[in-house]
């Protein structure tokens, strides 16, 4: 076999003598990973000498370059796929028929993958703007390390979203993991961040090694590592236990990252203690990448006749999603530590995203995509507002802050809007995504799945509104302590800034406001939904993905473009969720529950809370139990 010729550009992107001058999609794809990597290097080197404002400006320039790169990629990919073979190791001879004979790594991106990378970058820009003058970063020689880590984090997440190779996905998965552990443990003066970061690191790394074992098994069977090649090779023989085992092990990493129950225990511990700007990225997009990874791996590699049957995936992941959503909602309601409350609300929403993916329809997928985008804006805004409270009062405790933040009118209003948006109030993106996913779910399990969406979003939104009523409005009596119950209070936090200032830094309010506005635009501008609907149709078209990865002619996707507009019933259900959330919050604040509620609490909720013990040993045990349960479920439905 001779060396393959250099990668041919995609049809429509003319090969220019100076490729950098006007890069095509094949060039833009690797650039999306290389730009933040180079930015991180620049910051570490120049950060030793540059003063703080210059460093901040340099960071922003790097993030803006990445944003421009991805925006261009989004525009140029249009309703197709961008494909780029690294090192030019494409199909030998450039012939699609030899696609499975390549030795290289391919990046394949449709607008869902690029959209995830764009979301990463937009949130990174928001975080950089937010943390302007937020941290007392280590000065001197390590001046640029914190922004450099943020850029490396972005590079890892973008690489994971854009790659079309299973082992390469593992590498970028580990990159985002390693950076995230370090960022979570950033506040070394407080023992809790270190504890949370360790639990996060151990559980996620263990799961990643499980994934690698799975990759090893699949490699032994097929001799392939690319997702498309793997899928094609698996389809040459009927599935057996090896495929099931490999599938479950490979999914261990993404599912733990996605914090699906019972793999979720690390998440509240890590998100409650990470610096608030870091939480914006963790909850806003990193966890969602786990869902994305699960969907991508299943669709490309395992959705064929040699993989895992659709009904098995659908039913198992539906149950997984429902359990996750309910666990997240119940636990969210129980929290007084505001960041921990938001972390559990993320788990609740991840459950809903998993349900949307599990439906295995373009309709469910477009709902999830819109939901993820809207949720990212809302959740990041809420974490940003928690950081503001931490900055002003040194506490994120719902009880301890009772009535204290009355003076903060604008942040208070934003917090309330965030709570309503989280509950799915139209026309926020969360509301549109919820409505689309509900409708798709209602077609599979009428009544049940829509009810799940309404309840979970109402409870999580209600918890946030309850906290708003108490903290920003001073409503109701100050709740007493609950002796004997396992609880994490949000008091006694080490301040994230060196000397908490009385004056409110402008970005702490402006960035959350901008993020909420973004979430509103996602729901209100019909073009966003339409573009994601096109993308969801491509995402579910496995044949097209394989053809594109091999650089052959791509047949038109068979599925129709799913609907992505508001419906009357969807809007009404969104209003219903928001109204329920308000009612729950008012009830909780003004009528402290007694009687039958307390008994239910003792029987059902308290044991669940006890399971969240903060002990790494427990979390690892649950990881093993979850894997065993998935193995049993998929073997039984084979």
């Amino acid at each position: 076999m001779g060396p393959p010729p250099p990668t041919v550009a995609l049809p429509g992107t003319a090969q220019l003598p100076l490729a950098v001058a006007l890069p095509g999609t094949a060039q833009l794809l690797p650039l999306a990973v290389a730009v933040p990597l180079l930015g991180a290097v620049l910051l570490v080197v120049a950060g030793r000498w540059l003063p703080r404002p210059a460093r901040d400006a340099l960071t922003m320039v790097c993030a803006a370059a990445e944003l421009a790169c991805l925006a261009l990629l989004w525009a140029r990919t249009d309703d197709g796929r961008a494909v780029s073979w690294m090192g030019g190791w494409g199909p030998p001879g450039g012939s699609p028929a030899h696609g499975s004979q390549s030795v290289g790594i391919v990046l394949v991106a449709d607008r869902l993958g690029i959209g995830m990378a764009l979301l990463v970058t937009v949130l990174t820009v928001a975080v950089l703007a937010y943390s302007w003058r937020y941290f007392d970063e280590p000065v001197g020689e390590h001046g640029g390390v914190f922004p450099a880590l943020l850029l490396l984090f972005a590079a890892g997440m973008c690489g994971f979203a854009l790659t079309g190779d299973l082992f390469d996905a593992f590498v970028f998965f580990e990159l985002m993991g390693a950076v995230a552990y370090a960022l979570t443990g950033y506040r070394i003066e407080d023992p809790r961040p270190l504890h949370g970061a360790l639990a996060f690191g151990i559980v996620n790394s263990l799961a990643a090694y499980g994934s690698l074992l799975g990759i090893g098994l699949l490699y032994a069977r097929t001799g392939q590592l690319g997702l498309a090649q793997l899928g094609q090779a698996l389809d040459t023989r009927p599935p057996d236990l090896l495929v099931v085992c490999g599938f479950v092990l490979v999914l261990a990493g993404p599912l733990v990252k996605a914090a699906a129950a019972p793999f979720h225990f690390w998440l509240p511990d890590a998100h409650a203690v990470a610096p608030s700007p870091v939480c914006m990225l963790l909850s806003g997009v990193m966890v969602e990448l786990g869902v994305y990874g699960t969907a991508r791996i299943y669709w490309v590699a395992f959705a064929g006749p040699g993989g895992v049957p659709a009904h098995a995936f659908r039913d198992t992941v539906l149950v997984l999603g429902a359990v996750t959503a309910l666990t997240g909602a119940v636990m969210c309601w129980q929290q007084r530590h505001l960041k921990r409350m938001l972390a559990f609300s993320t788990i609740g929403h991840i459950g809903l995203f998993l349900v949307g993916v599990a439906l295995l329809t373009p309709e469910g997928l477009v709902g999830t995509a819109v939901y993820v985008a809207g949720h990212a804006g809302v959740k990041a805004a809420l974490f940003g507002l928690c950081g503001l409270l931490l900055d002003q009062y040194g506490s994120v405790d719902e009880h301890g802050l009772h009535g204290r933040a009355r003076e903060l009118a604008l942040p208070g209003a934003l917090f309330a809007v965030g709570g309503l948006a989280l509950a799915g109030l139209p026309p926020f993106g969360t509301g549109l995504g919820k409505s689309l996913a509900e409708e798709a779910g209602g077609r599979y399990l009428p009544g049940l799945l829509p009810a799940l969406f309404v309840v979970v979003s109402a409870v999580t939104g209600g918890a946030v509104l309850r906290a708003w009523l108490r903290v920003f409005r001073g409503a109701g009596p100050t709740p007493g302590d609950r002796p004997g119950e396992p609880e994490t209070s949000g008091e006694g936090e080490e301040p994230e800034v060196h000397s908490p200032s009385r004056r409110l830094p402008a970005p702490l309010t402006a960035v959350p406001a901008a993020l909420l506005l973004g979430a509103l635009v996602i729901g209100a501008a019909p073009s966003v939904g339409r573009q994601l609907a096109q993308a969801a149709r491509l995402f579910t078209d496995r044949v097209g993905y394989l053809a594109a990865a091999y650089q052959g002619p791509v047949p038109p996707a068979p599925q129709p473009v799913p609907a992505s507009d508001w419906t009357v019933s969807g809007a009404l259900l969104g209003l219903l969720s928001a109204a329920l959330a308000v009612a729950l919050a008012l009830l909780a604040v003004h009528f402290v529950h007694r009687g039958p509620g307390a008994a239910l609490n003792r029987r059902l909720v308290l044991p669940l809370r006890r399971l969240h013990s903060g002990l790494v040993g427990d979390y690892v045990t649950w990881l093993a139990v979850g894997l065993a349960a998935l193995l049993v479920a998929f073997v039984a439905q084979r």
Partner: protein
């Protein structure tokens, strides 16, 4: 016994998980994580083995000589570097935790629960 080397990988993984679940010392936990990771080395290298073949280095081999699978070796190498660096990072966290909390017993870390 052509399946035995693969089973060793599973055994090593379960040993690592058992250690992680029961350890009373975080340094040991990080070590157990490394044990669990070793299972991936065992599996990858076992998968790439080829009877009667030698290392995939052609400096002193005739072209066409049978060699073991070089791809899994490259993957294992990547895996080693990833594992080593992540281990270092986790150990750094343990050091700080020991200073702040005065213990490396995970069962005595009770700051985050409920």
């Amino acid at each position: 016994m052509s399946v035995f080397p693969y089973l060793v990988a599973g055994w090593v993984l379960l040993a690592g998980i058992y250690g992680l679940a029961t350890s009373r010392d975080l340094i040991q936990s990080v070590g157990c994580l490394a044990v669990a990771q070793s299972s991936t080395y065992v599996l990858l290298l076992a998968v790439g083995y080829r009877r009667g073949a030698t290392a995939p280095v052609f400096a002193d081999l005739p072209v066409g000589a049978p060699v073991v699978d070089p791809v899994v070796q490259a993957l294992a190498l990547t895996d080693v570097v990833v594992g080593a660096t992540v281990t270092a990072l986790l150990l750094a966290l343990v050091i700080q935790l020991r200073k702040r909390h005065g213990t490396v017993d995970p069962e005595r870390l009770t700051g985050l629960r409920g």
